[in-house]
């Protein structure tokens, strides 16, 4: 028994070095050498500054921008969390109603039946970077008016930014809100000049 314990300790130390240090060192090296962009967090640059990460959603509240989903984490990427409200919790229903009321207020003329579920519900991570195409299209009139752009131009921008499916067939259709808004900013600039 004591012999086995001593063996266990020695084997453990060796395996810990192998699995805890050598393994991460190898994959870290390969990743940094061959896929540095992804390995460093897919940071998005704009005019030489880091303005976010491609994977991570952000909070947009101005009428000039497209808005993402509500977030239980308030898009604080260092504190990812869900609301964890159960399906039978009145707080959940209240929250969805409030989100819906806000969307209807910000986008006059819209009916509840045009609002997709994803735009009024919070995600599991609180950092969901995506919205559905329907959620983007319904914001087009507001965004166009706030930026002084023709509706057709903004609509075309949304269509261009719908994510292509992986290998052309795999994945749910969606838009990345940060990328969409960056494209919008560029569009506003080029139109203004």
């Amino acid at each position: 028994m004591i012999r086995h314990t001593w063996t266990a300790v020695r084997l453990f130390v060796l395996m810990a070095i192998l699995a805890g240090f050598i393994y991460p060192a190898i994959v870290l090296g390969i990743s940094q050498l061959t896929m540095a962009y992804q390995a460093n967090g897919s940071l998005v640059h704009y005019h030489g500054r880091v303005v976010g990460a491609k994977m991570i959603g952000q909070s947009f509240t101005s009428p000039k921008f497209f808005h993402g989903r509500p977030s239980a984490a308030d898009y604080n990427a260092a504190a990812s969390t869900a609301s964890n409200l159960g399906p039978s919790n009145p707080a959940l229903v209240k929250e969805v109603k409030a989100s819906l009321a806000l969307v209807l207020k910000q986008n006059p003329g819209l009916r509840a039946s045009q609002v997709p579920m994803d735009l009024v519900t919070s995600s599991d991570s609180g950092l969901d970077p995506n919205i559905s195409p329907q959620a983007a299209y319904l914001q087009v009139p507001r965004v166009a008016r706030a930026n002084g752009l023709p509706v057709s131009v903004v609509r075309a921008l949304v269509t261009r930014n719908i994510h292509g499916r992986f290998l052309g067939l795999y994945g749910e259709p969606r838009l990345n809100v940060l990328e969409l808004n960056l494209a919008l900013v560029s569009l506003v600039k080029s139109n203004g000049s």
Binding site: G20, N40, D124, G126, L127
Partner: protein, 565 residues
């Protein structure tokens, strides 16, 4: 059902089905020391590892010795993780300067990672340094599942008439021949899909709206690769595999769902090849496969139909998006969750607490039975336990001595199988009852009424099944829960493991009875059907009452638009 859902399910299930035999064959070569492709890489270092640590690869252990070696190694692991977490400040790679982890959380985490549960009472992104993540939790994520594999392998050896083998050899080979090489491959695919792998600190973004955002980074891909390969299931961040940093695309989501299942299904093939009973192995695979499909559908249908109270607001579409990530879709989330609950991983891509009650029932079921392929090694052991109980029940019904693989199943075997089985409902129901009774624990729930009971029940089920997922609304960092959950994880892990090892040895010592026309066949549709029925009945007897008070009560009241405030 969308096209993407169909592709996700077909590819996921297809790959796992095809993997049963080849992965099983590879495992058989690894664990009978036959030549494999990796010998050129590992042959020499492995001999060196054995020599330095004093392992004699030719020494065969008895069941007690094997169990003791397993437990001792796990205790060393537990102690090492605890110490490293407590010393976090003094250790390198702590770019965010996180303080030492406090003792109750460090102990809970050490138990959790040593028992392959990976229950998390902390939020990784504002608690743990990179060192704690890749080193302390990193090696635990290899050694804990490798211990489970070793136990499963030893049991199968006993069934096939071989000696149990040497725990240290099996542990090492499970790491070097299976987990490490696969983890390297999976990490690289994850990085390609966008999972960070860096030692740089958190990035600071200056947003175009004028605000700022901190982007957590770290060696996330290497952490998540082994988290899923080893059915560990802990997350680098609080949101686990729902966090876009850990699971950025529908492709990474599908990869995770497959990777979790690769070795559990392979172990079923391994059983068939080692015992020469491939037909029995396929029967057991079919039984687990039917249950897997049942769980998948049970998740998908209610989630696609949505919450009746929310749907009465008259929005576009019906599917439940609360606590769900858009990029996976309902079908992708369904496959991930079902895999995680069937294979006992416990990582989550959706908020379990916000699932509709019937959908959460699938998760409960997976953890109750814990043999829908199940965790590494342990899932196969649980399946064998149910097989032995079923054979015994059939024996009672037809009035003949029960046999399995030519060995008589007698008092000792049935007692050990029953012990392994009963520990599980005892821990789950006892723990839940105690928590409901104690006001301090009862107040740890976020949601009221039937759903609150489900939160508590889920915590104890997850701990006993060494799953690790949670209805995360529960305040798991409360002293009662860190202590009670730690106890449940330990007992739930080691008691059934030791009982099954003893059972295996007991079968090995018996004389083989020649098969006759009168022998009960343990393959084919009839046996599979009886096995499936017994699994369902035995578990329903144990768990139906509490399920009726929790998820079922909530479901029916929700259908009537009744909420709990």
């Amino acid at each position: 059902m969308s096209f993407t859902t169909a592709v996700t399910w077909l590819v996921g299930l297809g790959v796992l089905f095809v993997a049963v035999k080849p992965v099983g064959g590879y495992l058989a070569r690894v664990f009978t020391a036959q030549p494999t492709v990796l010998d050129r890489v590992w042959g020499r270092p492995e001999r060196w590892l054995f020599r330095v640590s004093g392992v004699d690869p030719n020494y065969d252990m008895s069941a007690w010795e094997f169990a003791a070696a397993l437990v001792v190694t796990n205790v060393v692991l537990l102690a090492a993780v605890y110490v490293l977490l407590r010393l976090q400040v003094s250790l390198p790679f702590n770019p965010q300067h996180f303080p030492d982890v406090r003792s109750s959380i460090a102990l809970n985490t050490a138990v959790s990672f040593a028992t392959n549960t990976n229950w998390q009472a902390y939020a990784g992104e504002h608690t743990l340094s990179n060192f704690s993540q890749f080193a302390a939790l990193g090696f635990a994520q290899f050694i804990a599942p490798a211990s489970g594999v070793a136990a499963g392998v030893a049991f199968v050896r006993a069934l096939s008439g071989r000696k149990l083998g040497n725990f240290f050899v099996d542990l090492t080979r499970a790491c070097t021949r299976i987990l490490l090489p696969l983890a390297v491959l999976v990490t690289l695919v994850l990085v390609w899909q966008g999972v960070p792998e860096t030692l740089a600190g958190y990035a600071h973004a200056h947003l175009i709206t004028g605000g700022r955002q901190i982007i957590p980074r770290g060696p996330i891909a290497s952490f998540d690769a082994i988290a899923h390969l080893g059915q560990n299931g802990g997350g680098f961040t609080h949101a686990n595999s729902a966090n876009p940093l850990e699971n950025p695309t529908a492709v990474s989501n599908l990869l995770y769902a497959i990777v979790m299942g690769l070795l559990p299904v392979g172990l079923f093939g391994f059983f068939g090849i080692m015992t020469g009973r491939m037909r029995t192995a396929w029967t057991l695979t079919a039984v687990a496969g039917v249950l897997f499909l049942g769980m998948l559908v049970l998740y998908y249908v209610p989630e696609a139909a949505g919450n009746p109270v929310i749907n009465s607001l008259g929005l576009h579409g019906t599917a439940n998006w609360i606590g769900q990530e858009l990029r996976f879709g309902t079908g992708g989330s369904a496959l991930f969750t079902t895999s995680s609950m069937a294979f006992s991983t416990g990582s989550v891509a959706t908020a379990q607490d916000s699932l509709l009650p019937l959908a959460s029932l699938g998760s409960f079921f997976g953890m109750f039975v814990n043999m829908v392929f199940g965790g590494k090694g342990v899932g196969l052991l649980n399946m064998m336990m149910f097989v032995i109980l079923t054979v015994f029940l059939i024996g009672l019904m037809v009035g003949r001595t029960p046999e399995f693989l030519g060995k008589k199943i007698e008092t000792r075997e049935v007692s050990l199988a029953l012990l392994a089985f009963l520990v599980h409902p005892f821990l789950i129901l006892g723990g839940t009852a105690l928590a409901v009774y104690l006001p301090a624990a009862r107040h740890g729930v976020t949601n009221a009424g039937a759903h609150g009971l489900s939160e508590i029940l889920y915590a104890f089920t997850s701990a006993a099944a060494n799953n690790g997922s949670a209805f995360a609304g529960l305040h798991a960092a409360l002293p009662f829960y860190t202590a009670a959950i730690s106890m449940v994880m330990l007992i739930g892990r080691y008691v059934p493991l030791v009982a099954m090892l003893l059972l295996g040895e007991s079968l090995l010592r018996k004389r083989t009875v020649p098969e006759t026309v009168g022998t009960l066949r343990t393959d084919g549709v009839l046996f599979g059907g009886v096995l499936l029925t017994s699994v369902i009945i035995v578990n329903a007897l144990a768990f139906f009452p509490v399920i009726a008070l929790g998820p079922l009560a909530e479901h029916y009241l929700l259908m009537a638009h009744h909420l709990f405030s």
